[in-house]
Amino acid sequence: MSMERFVYADNAATTPVSEEVLKAMLPYFREEYGNPSSIYQKGRDAAKATRLAREKVARGIGAQPEEIYFTSGGSEADNWAIKGVVEALAKKGKKHIVTTAFEHHAVLHVCQSLRKHGIETTYLEVGPLGVVKAEDVAAAIREDTALVTIMYANNEIGTIQPIAEIGKICRERGVLFHTDAVQALGNLEIDVKAQSIDLLSLSGHKIHAQKGVGALYIRKGVRIPNLIEGGGQEGGHRAGTENVPAIVGLGVAVEIATRDIHARADKTRKMRDRLIDEITKLPRTRLNGDREQRLPGNVNVSFEGIEGESLLLMLDLKGVAASSGSACTSGSLDPSHVLLSIGLVHEVAHGSLRLSINDQTTEKDIDHILKVLPPVVEQLRAMSPLWESIVKGENKY
């Protein structure tokens, strides 16, 4: 089959490095290769470049430059934030975490691993729409709560959480608040001061910087143990020679991503809504997650009677790259914990599809998705014994 068009609809997984970011990075590989710790001009230039990048990242989220610590990405930032806060506060008798059932694994698995150190975690339900209630957070906070960690927007179903409300509650109760803002950055306004955020994780490759770079914002006054001991980089908290080209790229990427958010989001949201409206016209097809409290580029739907991985392969053959929460694509026996957390049964979760678009997506791309998707769903359903039994009324979901 000739591939007339390729539509990348998996921007929540990763994005290509943009021209502007690449252009900014290139000199730091072969010309400005100095070590920022060195005293001579080349070193000072590299130090200046990382300083400017730090300022850009800080400005993008309403923080101060000295509150930004570069990391290898979002997962490292999540791990450092949670383990660090817990280590700092456990000796003061605070051994409880509040989080949600549908966090990214970089948060959930950390909480699970801390159990063996006597740290208890409350996993809040997010309800059928995938939005946690601020009052549930308030009710879950205890005397011994060290940290509330709740994602800004969910990576699979795109639902946006009431971050400012949660931040206010945590601040009033004297509990630290961390948010994984990897999916939110560039899509939603972030202001760590106004939203009372104490720690925030972000990642470069979701906003057109390279993979392997991110940052943790730690509010001034919040002290957590160093992540890597060694030299004095990152204020001595995360040692190791800076990845200068990646950091420079991250700075530019954050600057661009946090500029004109509303115009870009409006454009993306229109295309998203067109996808949702058209796709949910298909029989026994549902949207997962709240329709309004949703990232501008996220579409997550379930098609009864088919399995996600075969859907993705079929779409790939037709020039559409997307993702799914089926067990087959997660590499485990269970489908996505996010879809289960909003009450989907396994059978329906297996048939999920996530399309994540952005402002680089065009109406022509949407046309193409809407042209190839319905026949693919129909083709897979035609060969599905499960679909047969659903149509006969033997299985109801």
Binding site: S310, C328, L333, H346, M383, S384, P385, W387
Partner: protein, 143 residues
């Protein structure tokens, strides 16, 4: 997930998809909660599998293994078809990723289930001929 060209070929262009309205045996294995179900239809003439069709709900490998398994047993005697192992299906597909091996087991079991049904319909106890149909791999939580 790395799939061989053969797997992608059988996935994108599956052989013997559909149903046989006059099937002599129908076997179904797997479960919706696990994310894969295979249903095999066989037509038996003179002790041979004269025709075979399948319907599958599942991943790319599940569809490809169903397709390959039907192709391998078509025209074979029931005895030969019963000897088809999941390993033979995997080899014919030029390999499967380790996490997908269970799909080939499912295909092997679907054939056995269809032949078992054929004998049952004849009033013959299938157990001594076909042996037990294995439980599927999935240990997911049921809701």
């Amino acid at each position: 997930m790395e799939y061989s060209d053969k797997v992608l070929d059988h996935f994108s262009n599956p052989r013997n998809v559909g149903e046989l309205t006059d099937a002599d045996g129908i076997g179904e294995v797997g479960s919706p909660a696990c994310g894969d179900i295979m249903k095999m239809y066989i037509k038996v003439e003179g002790g041979k599998i004269a025709d075979v069709k399948f319907k599958t709900f599942g991943c790319g490998a599940a569809i490809a293994t169903s397709s390959m398994a039907t192709e391998l047993i078509k025209g074979q005697s029931l005895e030969e078809a019963l000897k088809l192992t999941n390993k033979a299906v995997v080899e014919a597909l030029e390999g499967l990723p380790p996490v997908k091996i269970h799909c080939s087991v499912l295909a092997e079991q679907a054939i056995k289930a269809a032949i078992s049904d054929y004998y049952t319909r004849l009033g013959v106890d299938p157990l001594p001929i076909v042996g037990p149909i294995k439980d599927t791999h999935c240990h997911a939580h049921f809701h």
